[in-house]
C-alpha cells in the first residue's frame, strides 16, 4: 500500500505500471486520476490546493484501510498533491487491485467519495479576476450515503 501527499507532479504511467506489476492473483486493476479542469470561461490561471499536514496522511490511511476492510483488495494506492497546479495537471490518483472487477471498481469509487469530503484538502481557483475557494457540493456529501 502506498499513500503519498506531495507538491511534486506524479507520473500516472509509471505509477500505474508499478502498481499493476507483479500481482499474479489480482485480475482487476482500477485507477482513477483527477485532473485540474479549466473553468467554463477558460480563464483559470491556476488552482491552489491547501491541506492540513498533520492530519492528511492519517486521514488518507484511514480511508484506504476502510476500503481494505470492506472489499477484497490486494493493494491500494493513493497520491494527492497540494500547492499550485495549472489547468491540465494531475491533482491526484487512486488505484485498487482485486481478484474481482466489481471489488476493484467499488473500492476505487469509495476511495474517491471519501477523498472528496473527508480528507483535509481545500481547493482555490485563481483567475485574473481574483481567487475563489471551491465550494463543497451537496452531491459529494450525499455520495457518502451509499457506502
Amino acid at each position: 500500500m502506498k499513500i503519498a501527499v506531495q507538491s511534486e507532479p506524479f507520473d500516472l504511467g509509471a505509477e500505474a505500471s508499478a502498481f499493476a506489476s507483479g500481482h499474479r492473483d489480482m485480475g482487476a486493476i482500477v485507477t482513477f486520476t483527477g485532473v485540474v479542469r479549466d473553468l467554463a470561461r477558460g480563464d483559470l490561471d491556476r488552482m491552489v490546493i491547501e491541506h492540513y499536514p498533520g492530519m492528511t496522511l492519517k486521514a488518507l490511511e484511514k480511508i484506504a484501510n476502510e476500503a481494505r476492510d470492506r472489499w477484497s483488495l490486494g493493494d491500494v494506492l493513493v497520491i494527492h498533491r497540494y500547492g499550485d497546479l495549472a489547468p491540465g495537471e494531475m491533482i491526484m490518483m487512486v488505484a485498487t487491485a482485486s481478484p474481482h472487477r466489481k471489488d476493484a471498481f467499488e473500492a476505487a469509487e469509495f476511495l474517491m467519495d471519501y477523498l472528496k469530503s473527508r480528507a483535509p484538502f481545500w481547493k482555490k481557483e485563481i483567475t485574473s479576476d481574483g481567487a475563489d475557494w471551491v465550494a463543497a457540493k451537496d452531491e459529494d456529501e450525499d455520495a457518502l450515503n451509499r457506502w
Binding site: 483527477g34 491547501e50 492530519m55 483535509p120 481545500w122 481547493k123 456529501e141
Partner: protein, 81 residues
C-alpha cells in the same frame, strides 16, 4: 492548546495557527470564547453549519469534548479529490 485554521477560515481570522489558553470543555465552548474575542472571529464562526472541526487531527463534531486535547482545527467542508 494549538488552534489551527484552514482555507477561508484561515484568511478570515488572519493567522494559520495560534496558541489559545482556555478552560473550554467542548468545541462549542471554545467557539463561544473565540467569538467573544474580536469581530474577525465572530465573522469566521458566524455559521457553524459551514464549518468542520478536527480535534487532535481527527474529524469530529462541535459537541466533542476538549479534555486532554492538544490541537483543534477549524475549516470549511473539504474539497479534495
Amino acid at each position: 492548546m494549538d488552534v489551527l485554521y484552514f482555507a477561508w477560515v484561515r484568511e478570515r481570522i488572519g493567522v494559520p495557527k495560534e496558541v489559545v489558553e482556555t478552560q473550554a470543555k467542548t468545541v462549542t465552548d471554545l467557539v463561544e470564547e473565540l467569538r467573544g474575542r474580536e469581530e474577525r472571529y465572530a465573522a469566521a464562526f458566524a455559521d457553524l453549519s459551514a464549518l468542520r472541526v478536527a480535534v487532535d487531527q481527527e474529524l469530529t463534531e462541535f459537541d466533542a469534548s476538549l479534555e486532554g486535547a492538544r490541537e483543534v482545527a477549524f475549516f470549511p467542508p473539504m474539497t479534495g479529490g
